[in-house]
Symmetry: C2
Subunit: 216 residues, 2 copies
Amino acid sequence: MRRIDWRLCFIADSEAAGGREILPLIVDAVEGGATLVQLRGKKWTSRKFLELGVQAVRFLRAEKIPLIINDRLDIALACEADGVHLGQDDLPIHYARKLLGKNRMIGISTSTLEEAEEAEKAGADYVGAGPVFGTLSKRDIGPLLGLEGLRAIREKVKIPILAIGGLTAGNVGEVISAGADGVAVISAIAAAANPKKAAAEIIESIKKHTGRGRGD
Amino acid sequence: MRRIDWRLCFIADSEAAGGREILPLIVDAVEGGATLVQLRGKKWTSRKFLELGVQAVRFLRAEKIPLIINDRLDIALACEADGVHLGQDDLPIHYARKLLGKNRMIGISTSTLEEAEEAEKAGADYVGAGPVFGTLSKRDIGPLLGLEGLRAIREKVKIPILAIGGLTAGNVGEVISAGADGVAVISAIAAAANPKKAAAEIIESIKKHTGRGRGD
């Protein structure tokens, strides 16, 4: 697998984007400094999802930014994305690996140390870990992982960790200090008055808290 | 591709099944005489869909009944189903063929002669054609294809045709006479007081109207 800059993953989510078009948001996020993009659309038809995936790949490949598809392995394969991100209700990782092969990344959403260790053991390339803080993007999210939970995962898990949940330019420093390799954000970029500026502020804040991390 | 008995496809749909469990419904439909099963669940999580697919394949393989997965190519590949059924809003067929290969079937939902001809030209293994009659399973279905429309498709299209939409034991004879190779039903089985008996009545009615068709 190629070397990935994990610092700032923009989750381009149909619902969190509200009325905004997804592709211009992705362009803004990347121009601001996002290092990774995940495309997520629970309510899109398969055809719409594929079309956006194809367009996103076209733009992101030129920018050398990886694209991760949420949940849908078929969409990821069809648009030749760089990987998939799977929740605990999505396909189990061993099925996913069989379909995707070794050259595409698989990330797993985890909300406990046990889930994170299990994901690593099963061969995940990275874990999403959260929610670290409260968030507006997801309702009924259950208990927070918090910085303590994030540190506990960092102590046990060697693969990259993307912290998620309630992250902003104001608090990303704390999760990087707690051991996250990067952060995944939705509304901090998608719902910002100026998404490009929001992404730039987050990546600047991350840079202040990283030494010579994976992304440097 | 192996020889398929197209006469009676039971579409095991999460929503049309109401409170009923999907797998017992599939068992009933097959024991009654269904020759093909399609599994469809727009609201299932991917993991749930996969689990049901795996269980359905296990039962159906022993019965030598093919399983078709609606929309989700990744689920079809993961559970090793016999094919996929794609709507006009699902993945375009050339993407699907690339992912599925030649050994798995691809069916396309069509509601006009143009769509049916296009599906055949693009390499579909069969078309669903309808709605022939009005139906309770789908709302806002647009104009009916009718028996006339079905005959028009039969005149131009060589691949198998599964008629769909408002079909019951009482009217399947008409669509077989109009040239359909078989019928696809949802609620006529899933919502019946006795699903097994309902399937048996439909297949009996089809047998009365088929000479030495593909399924004989």
